[in-house]
């Protein structure tokens, strides 16, 4: 039962991942810059900021897209330069496994508690 729930959840999350497809280049730039933290601002994304850093970053991303880099390649390039801190969506790795996993574990746990509580008849 637990396994099935988990598989379903993973499928749902994967579906969400793959659903992000892009129409045109501008939309693509906007999408990427919304997912980047403006490092010199207080909690603003690169997309929302008009600081020098953000403006240069937007320009660089436009160049990178023109050169044929994919979204992930751009993120990886920037992560290498600035660290994980720059992206708003942390990738799943050993550092962030509980970030993504804990709410799901609690959800399953809560579900089991409810099933135990009520009388099924």
């Amino acid at each position: 039962m637990k396994k099935i729930t988990l598989i379903v959840l993973i499928l749902i999350i994967n579906a969400l991942h793959s659903n992000i497809s892009f129409a045109d280049q501008k939309k693509n730039i906007d999408h990427i810059t919304k997912n980047l933290r403006c490092l010199i601002c207080q909690g603003q994304s690169v997309y929302d900021s008009q600081s020098d850093f953000a403006l240069s970053m937007k320009k660089l991303i436009r160049i990178k897209i023109k050169e044929g880099n994919t979204e992930d390649e751009i993120y990886n390039f920037l992560k290498e330069k600035y660290g994980e801190w720059i992206v708003y969506e942390p990738e799943v790795n050993k550092n962030t496994i509980f970030l993504w996993g804990l709410p799901l574990i609690l959800f399953i746990f809560g579900g089991l508690l409810i099933i135990r509580k009520v009388t099924i008849k």
């Binding site: 010199i40 403006l55 240069s56 970053m57 320009k59 660089l60 290498e80 330069k81 600035y82 660290g83």
Partner: protein, 174 residues
């Protein structure tokens, strides 16, 4: 019995959270750089300030020596403050110093150098700031120490001060 276990678990959990948050209070909140040991990207192409020639940044780095890259702009006042240190580093210690002129008006930057002295062996122009991003900069001024394997071994964000200056000198002498 079972309740006791839950009780201890919760108390320990709360105390653990408390300790972590207490330690968290001491952490630096703003962007801080992690020690960088990555190789410099070897395809960064920039224009030279005076001649306008295109030059690869890597070609300017001297082998088997410590190099210094300084990102600056004439409109940035902290850059003026750190300028004497750069002049000293270049003239007294003969370090290979490459300046990257960040988002600047070329006439202003030339005037800046003729007024305050030119500490740079070469000055490259990054007119839209994208090359500095490729180097991993967040603004001006920033100074990078590059070792003999073309790796950034130290980043100084913000103007150099006396401590940084001595730091650089001790690293050169090593």
């Amino acid at each position: 019995m079972k309740n006791n276990k839950i009780f201890y678990f919760i108390v320990i959990l709360i105390v653990a959270i408390f300790i972590v948050l207490l330690l968290g209070l001491k952490e630096e909140k703003n962007y801080s750089l992690q020690p960088e040991t990555k190789k410099l990207n070897n395809s960064i192409l920039l224009k030279e300030l005076y001649s306008g020639k295109n030059i690869f940044l890597n070609d300017l780095l001297l082998e088997n020596e410590i190099n210094l890259i300084n990102i600056w702009a004439s409109w940035c006042s902290p850059c003026k403050a750190e300028h004497p240190y750069l002049i000293n580093l270049n003239e007294r210690f003969g370090i290979n110093l490459i300046g990257i002129n960040y988002k600047d008006n070329l006439d202003n930057s030339k005037k800046f150098l003729s007024d305050l002295g030119n500490p740079y062996d070469e000055v490259l122009v990054d007119s839209d700031g994208t090359k500095s991003i490729e180097l991993g900069a967040i603004g001006v001024p920033e100074t990078y120490l590059i070792n003999n394997e073309n790796k950034i071994i130290k980043k100084f964000v913000g103007p150099l001060d006396q401590d940084d200056y001595e730091d650089i000198i001790s690293l050169i002498k090593k």
